[in-house]
Every structure is written in structure tokens, then in C-alpha cells.
């Protein structure tokens, strides 16, 4: 049961990653990436 939940959480994480990546790939806007000038 606990093992299943762990795997399920991992699948959820992978889906979030996939969705966020896809969202950015589909974003038609030009992105201006400005350095905040901080080293972290």
C-alpha cells in the first residue's frame, strides 16, 4: 500500500513536469530573460 502510494506520487510528479514543459513549449510569446544579477 505504502509502496503504491510512493510510485503514485512519482507518477504525479512526472505528469507535473510534463505539463509544465509542454506549457512552455507551446507558449508563443517571445521571452526576455533578464539576469537579476544575483549569483544564486
Amino acid at each position: 500500500m505504502k509502496e503504491n502510494k510512493r510510485i503514485s506520487n512519482y507518477e504525479k510528479l512526472k505528469e507535473i513536469i510534463r505539463q509544465e514543459n509542454l506549457k512552455r513549449q507551446k507558449d508563443p510569446r517571445i521571452i526576455l530573460k533578464v539576469s537579476a544579477g544575483t549569483c544564486g
Binding site: K14, N21, Q25, K33, A36
Partner: protein
């Protein structure tokens, strides 16, 4: 920073919110060229910006599709001009690892990190591997994230390249 405020104002004054997004990222690793900007998806690199450049950047590259020569990087060694960040010798001679994603994401936006595969290795370790497997993986220097994620991330040229080791 003044350049950020100037770009925000320029985007608003030209009603370009639907065409242009401003993202404040971590350090681009090139302090000498600060403040600088990378324009995606073309990967155009403008350096040593001043607030007065903001309007021109938006007019030229967004509305006219033109590059502003005076803001491009000129290599002090070979005197060549490099429009693209990826081609600048300072970057091509190094491989940033620990801080390699700095220029790609807003450090205050966790979804930016997810989009780069953030936490996938941790998720894999905690969910699918035994302690012994983790130790073996470290011994083999096998830090690669899931193949499917690597493949997904590689489809976007703005994102990092496939990690070595698998």
C-alpha cells in the same frame, strides 16, 4: 534593477503583454556583460544594457525582427560579434553544471524548475529505488533522470541538454 523596470514599462506602453514575457532569472554567469538579456527562442544576447535601451529592444526585435548591433557581444580576442549566447566563446569553453539552469528559470517560480525536470531524480530515488540501488547508482555515477523526461526536455531547444552518465 532599472533595466527590468524599463522593460516592464516598455512592454506595457506598447501593449505587448500577449506577445512578450519578461522573466527575471538567476545569474547568466557572465558578470562582465551585466546587465544582460537573452531573448528566446532566438537566443539573442544583449549585454551591458541601460534603461534607455528597453524601448529600442522591443521595437527592433519584436516589431521589426531586427537585431541591435551595438548591444551585441564583441569578443576581445578575435573582435568578432556574436548575436547568440550559445556561440559566445566565453560560454562555449565551459560547461556549467551546478548553476547551469540559472539563466533559464525564475528562481522564485517552482513551476519553472518543474519544466526543466526539477526533482525528477529525487522522485525516482524516493519512489522506485531501494537504498542499495541508490548506492550502486551513485557508485556508477548514474545520475541521469528518466529517459522519457530527458527525451521530452530535449525537444525544447531552450532547455538543458541530456545529462551525461547514462
Amino acid at each position: 534593477m532599472e533595466i527590468i523596470e524599463a522593460l516592464e514599462k516598455a512592454i506595457q506602453s506598447k501593449n505587448l503583454e500577449e506577445k512578450v514575457a519578461l522573466k527575471i532569472t538567476g545569474c547568466h554567469g557572465f558578470c562582465e556583460a551585466e546587465p544582460n538579456i537573452i531573448i528566446h527562442p532566438e537566443n539573442i544576447f544583449y549585454q551591458k544594457l541601460q534603461p534607455k535601451d528597453a524601448q529600442e529592444i522591443l521595437t527592433k526585435i519584436i516589431e521589426q525582427g531586427e537585431i541591435i548591433e551595438r548591444l551585441l557581444y564583441i569578443d576581445p580576442q578575435n573582435k568578432k560579434t556574436y548575436p547568440k549566447e550559445k556561440e559566445i566563446p566565453f560560454y562555449t569553453k565551459q560547461k556549467r553544471i551546478v548553476l547551469g539552469d540559472n539563466a533559464l528559470l525564475d528562481p522564485t517560480d517552482i513551476t519553472d524548475y518543474f519544466a526543466l525536470g526539477g526533482y525528477s531524480a529525487l522522485g525516482k530515488v524516493l519512489s522506485t529505488m531501494s537504498p542499495e540501488q541508490v548506492i550502486e547508482s551513485v557508485k556508477k555515477r548514474d545520475f541521469a533522470v528518466e529517459e522519457e523526461l530527458v527525451s521530452l526536455l530535449e525537444t525544447n531547444g531552450n532547455l538543458r541538454a541530456k545529462p551525461k552518465g547514462k
